[in-house]
Amino acid sequence: MTDATLSIRDLRVTFKTLLGPVQAVRGVSLDVHPGEVLGVVGESGSGKSVSFLSIMGLLGKNAVIEGSAKVGDVELVGANQKAMRRVRGSEVAMIFQDPLSALNPVHRVGAQVAEMILAHQRDMSKDAAANRAVELLDLVGIPQPEQRARQYAHEFSGGMRQRVMIAMAIANNPKVLIADEPTTALDVTVQAQILEVIDRIRKEMGTAVVLITHDLGVVARMADRVQVMYAGRVVERSDVHNIFHESRHPYTRGLLGSQPTLGRERLTPIPGAPPNMLQPPSGCAFRARCVHAAPQCAGDLPELVQVGLTESACVRANELEALV
């Protein structure tokens, strides 16, 4: 196994709120390797976005971050602003669901991409950076890049804006690209185009990609490995085929079962709602909604253990085959 590009260990994020501490992320560990796509799946509030916002230093002052996140030898958790600025964009870059709010409305798009280049490559001339910006816009599939570089964000469609974001993200050849729901706001035909751009960048530049999404279809299409999150923890982890076909966690199975089927037979939703993270339940956080819950599930927090072909954080994972 090659060395991980991004290595997260026991990451914890707690938000201080008026109502008390909210434990958004409760001990997440993961590795991402060069050129692979790690899919991070979970529903709203599962902590999938917060985990990565926290290591990028993008959360507010009320967030308490513990644990470790390393890119190469550089530790991101607890790094000061100056150190973070050196890392962000050059080692790790991130793109978001809403590209319009991530772009500056009063600067030309090309200038924003060039600014990103100059922030990390100080010795480059402004002209060279502007030319490189046009090359990058071309690389992400923006037609007529010279003209488009002189336009503003409002003159771009949603898909084109997301391409600009990707161009900015890869401007300094980052080792890791974190894509947080990059296609959720886009139409399906445009989504297909953006996913292809991300895939091409991964192949051509060897970038490690973390793809955060709630869409199991996008994961099935793009990911090499998948980790499923629930209530701030990773509940199952494996390569993409095993997650879909050999899952040993009731939550993963519940998600798969909720997918609309071809015929008109009834869907099987997961009953109930995710827990309130102000008072996370003891033991397995999913047990209140789990059809296989048993007394032992209220015990210790279940850890990821290899069961069959996946790593599952279910204390009954071994019995699960017989239960279904």
Binding site: E43, S44, S157, G159, M160, D187, V188, T189, V190, Q191, A192, Q193, L195, E196, H214, D215, L216, G217, V218, V219, A220, R221, V240, H241, F244, H245, G254, L255, L256, G257, S258, Q259, P260, T261, L262, G263, R264, R266, L267, T268, P269, I270, P271, A273
Partner: protein, 335 residues
């Protein structure tokens, strides 16, 4: 054959938008919906799919006259709605309701859920005990009667959408426009609301117009599916036919673009990648509106607009080359 619940003929909606160039005001027309015809049979679900800007929501709102159509005809159980007096229309609205996409925005945060559900009863001067009716409705949608005293912020997204459904059902409608009712919900919650909608349909004999951009949900819930592109229906037919034997290149591309939640089928199936994005409805392309992105467009497509008609697919398709689509383009739905 019985009269369909809703019959839409040649529905057109144009919005005039004003913009300024210096001191000059320029009026331009957005062709949101052009010449759309649609029939919703009793007790059935018609799915309306399309990307943003395709006009699907406008169609739904024009049917209920929440937006005034520019031209065409909308008949509800044989009665023409266009041109009807507001008073008469209000009476008919008892039978036609709508559920909106955003359960956060469609409920008044300062009203209890019970008051929101009872509001249609008050507006329509329905006699009887409203509280009992609210309790009954809450149970019908899978909530508890004592939830009536709570406020919207005390509910999760899925529960709020159930409240929206309860409010739509308050007046015993026979037809409901469901405008992206599950798009804002997580999958595990979405499945529960989809099941609820199907149960209610069976129990109460409701007819639905189900508007969504998510093709897999539409396929699951609909009897008939109509695909819209830039204000026009490009293909309409029985759900299974449309998915397995689509005759329009846009339908094919759309199906191919939706990722399947299975890595084996998803990676093994052919993909049709459309270039570019949907053109502006202010200035739609001549001839076939899809031709600028169509992989099989030929000269005739720019000149002559293809009519939506039966072309040997067993259902109407608006493409000059519908017969070759099946042969020349891979079938993305094939598993």
């Amino acid at each position: 054959m019985s009269t369909p619940v809703v019959e839409v003929n040649n529905l057109t909606k144009e919005f005039v938008v004003k913009s300024t160039r210096g001191l000059r005001v320029i009026k331009r027309t957005v062709h949101a919906v052009s010449d759309v015809s649609l029939t919703i049979p009793e007790g059935k679900t018609v799915g309306l799919v399309g990307e943003s800007g395709s006009g699907k929501t406008t169609v739904g709102r024009c049917i209920l006259r929440l937006i005034e159509p520019t031209a065409g005809s909308v008949k509800f159980k044989g009665t023409e709605l266009l041109g009807m007096e507001q008073n008469d229309l209000r009476k008919l609205r008892r039978s036609m309701q709508i559920v909106f996409q955003d359960p956060y925005a469609s409920l008044d945060p300062k009203m209890t859920v019970g008051a929101s559900i009872a509001e249609p009863l008050e507006i329509q001067n329905v006699s009887g005990n409203h509280q009992d009716r609210v309790a009954e409705l809450l149970e019908l949608v899978g909530l508890a009667p004592d939830h009536a005293r709570r406020f919207p912020h005390e509910f999760s997204g899925g529960q709020r959408q159930r409240v929206g459904v309860a409010r739509a059902l308050a007046l015993n409608p026979s037809f409901i426009v469901l405008d992206e009712p599950v798009s804002a919900l997580d999958v595990s919650i979405q499945a529960g609301v989809v099941n609820l909608l199907q149960d209610l349909q069976e129990q109460l004999g409701l007819s639905y117009l189900f508007i969504a951009h998510d093709l897999s949900v539409v396929r699951h819930i609909s009897d008939t599916v109509a695909v819209m592109y830039l204000g026009k229906i490009v293909e309409v037919g029985p759900a299974e036919d449309l998915y397995l034997a689509s005759g329009h290149p846009y339908t094919k591309a759309l199906l191919s673009a939706v990722p399947q939640a299975d890595p084996v089928t998803e990676r093994g199936r052919p993909r049709i990648m459309l270039q570019g994005e949907v053109p502006s409805p202010i200035n739609p392309p001549s001839g076939c509106r899809f031709r600028t992105r169509c992989p099989i467009a030929k000269e005739i497509c720019a000149v002559e607009e293809p009519e939506l008609k039966e072309r040997g697919q067993g259902h109407p398709v608006a493409c000059h080359f519908a017969d070759t689509v099946a042969l020349e383009m891979p079938n993305p739905a094939a598993v």
